[in-house]
Symmetry: C2
Subunit: 352 residues, 2 copies
């Protein structure tokens, strides 16, 4: 690991964080992935208001053949950011927790790393020291935990972790921390012939492991930050692919519309995000002809989830920044803001 | 254009050709894309034999819930090479014809090119001289005709060309030169819950323009050689993407399984190809657990289409080489060879 041009499944930006990172306990229970139960009325967990109406109106007017803004089935593409848009991203991205959790196994395979930084610090469990690691340190951790292995091995490791690891606030599987109102949005679009895609700054291979079970989104409809893979043959002559520490697609900021072109090949009709990393995707979506919908989730509910901006006087953050400039652009260009506090009557499926 | 590491929508390999390239006449007729009429019996244009049986058996045993080799719906991925597997690739790839045809328009926009090689030669219409152009010349033509423009402009240009340009032997639209038996294979897989993907060494953006109309394959299910795109804003402030002369994915040889991982994220259950550029895709497919199917189209019908190998004593070629080593590997590893001459009762839909 030598330079900032290297990539590790899209962690470069998120690992720039100064936030406290805590090691989650690995649950001994092999829990099954949380499935979301569909309700009869569309957007049942949404309060009546401009955000709910914007979604219902858009879907109705683009799928009614008599509508002036009808969209033919093959053009019905809707994209969703993941972290902070479909599930919780605070206090730190779930994939970062995965990387930190993987360090003990990496050290087991290469014992010499135990005495080397930054692995020594991660193994110490000293949360304050971990939070102070540099970006270079985090990139080294990401390279060690996300690359170098067979893609099938990576999938097994990720699958086992995501089925067991729990967050610290709710003591729930990370996959239970998806927003019920957004699951309803996914369902409503799909029920009306839209193809739903995740377009995430997170690692494509990481998210693909659980996208089908958690969101009903097949892995080929996940666009994320992607590293190269290398084709080779095992000792048994069988072919396999190895994850390489080489960036192919940095799927964040302008990389999102670029990734959408690469992986989907069509400008989305609608897009959902929550931070400055989603700005270009929302601009690109709204910039097309005909009916277009761009929406931003504003985390303004400190009580039920988290509150961060710094838009609208909310506390600043390094994880999922939503600036006032983004807020102003949204207002000016006709994007719709979703207030988590006001628009969502329920946030998680596990709530009573 | 400076080095061989540059890319231009995957033409690098195909432009290495020494074959004669002729400029097609641009038809004045705006023809609609040829639609393939589905027949009631699966694989109706196939003669009974091991190839037809291999496909029918594979589909049946992987989709019957009582079968030992049942494949769950989300894993039903089948990939198809395009050139030489789904449509005619001789005497030269259709995309090369597109590039040559675009030269007059490129020169119109930049008149200074008219006096510069290789554009001067292409404009001369001297077929023998065009056939002698070097790889560097062809890369320069590809860069000039496939990059530098807005992705939407490229789409319009390609769409207009493919709707009008005709081949020289049959005087048919290129899109009519798809193999009817392979269209039946696509249909049969889809009718049984398989998702069909094109995995081509050709340009991803090029093939996506007609994949939906010609093959029923949505553009997001086309994996091809891909260049980078760059996000920017027009004078009106509207965002757009520009095609750049920068290679992201060279989707040929080992690049095929690598591209499959990047774009699909799952090892295919079945794969179809016809040349050495498909070898690694077929190996990777066959190398997975459970039921797998790898098949190769052998062009051994000089009368109805073309005959080339050099496998099995067929004439050698630079376009879609099928070597004896590939033939031997197929026999050894249980891939099935499709003899165009013996297995297909009909090749094109337009035949009586």
């Amino acid at each position: 690991m030598s330079s900032s041009s290297s990539s590790h499944d899209g962690l470069s930006r998120r690992l720039l964080l100064g936030v406290a990172a805590t090691l989650p306990m690995l649950s001994g229970l092999l829990a099954t992935t949380a499935a979301w139960a569909q309700t009869a009325a569309p957007l049942a967990s949404w309060n009546d208001g401009p955000a709910k109406r914007a979604i219902l109106d858009f879907v109705r007017t683009t799928t009614d053949p008599a509508s002036r803004t009808f969209v033919p089935p093959e053009e019905r593409i809707v994209t969703f950011d993941q972290d902070g848009t479909l599930w919780v991203e605070h206090p730190i991205y779930t994939q970062v927790m995965y990387c930190l959790d993987r360090v003990p196994d990496v050290v087991k395979a290469k014992p010499e790393l135990a005495k080397v930084q930054p692995f020594k610090t991660v193994l110490s469990g000293d949360f304050e020291a971990i939070a102070k690691l540099s970006m270079h340190d985090f990139l080294e951790i990401a390279a060690a935990t996300l690359t170098g292995m067979d893609v099938d091995a990576f999938e097994s490791e990720t699958k086992a972790w995501i089925a067991a690891a729990k967050d610290h606030r709710w003591k729930r599987l990370y996959t239970e921390l998806t927003y019920l109102p957004m699951q309803e949005v996914l369902q409503h679009f799909r029920a009306n012939g839209y193809k739903t895609f995740i377009v995430t700054g997170g690692g494509q291979d990481f998210v693909r492991v659980f996208s089908e079970g958690v969101y009903g989104i097949p892995r080929e409809q996940v666009v994320g930050t992607a590293g190269g893979v290398k084709y080779g043959y095992g000792r048994d002559g069988k072919p396999f692919l190895t994850k390489e520490p080489k960036l192919l697609l940095n799927n964040d900021f302008a990389g999102k519309p670029e990734g959408i072109h690469l992986m989907i090949g069509r400008r989305p009709r609608a897009a959902f995000g929550n931070s400055i990393g989603d700005r270009e995707m929302l601009e690109y979506t709204k910039g097309g002809d005909g009916a277009r919908l761009s929406m931003l989730v504003l985390h303004d509910d400190a009580k039920r989830e988290y509150a961060y901006g710094p838009a609208q006087g909310l506390p600043d953050t390094k994880v999922g920044r939503f600036t006032q400039a983004l807020y102003d652009e949204a207002k000016k260009d006709g994007w719709t803001i979703i207030s988590m506090k006001n628009d969502w009557s329920r946030i998680f499926a596990f709530e009573a």
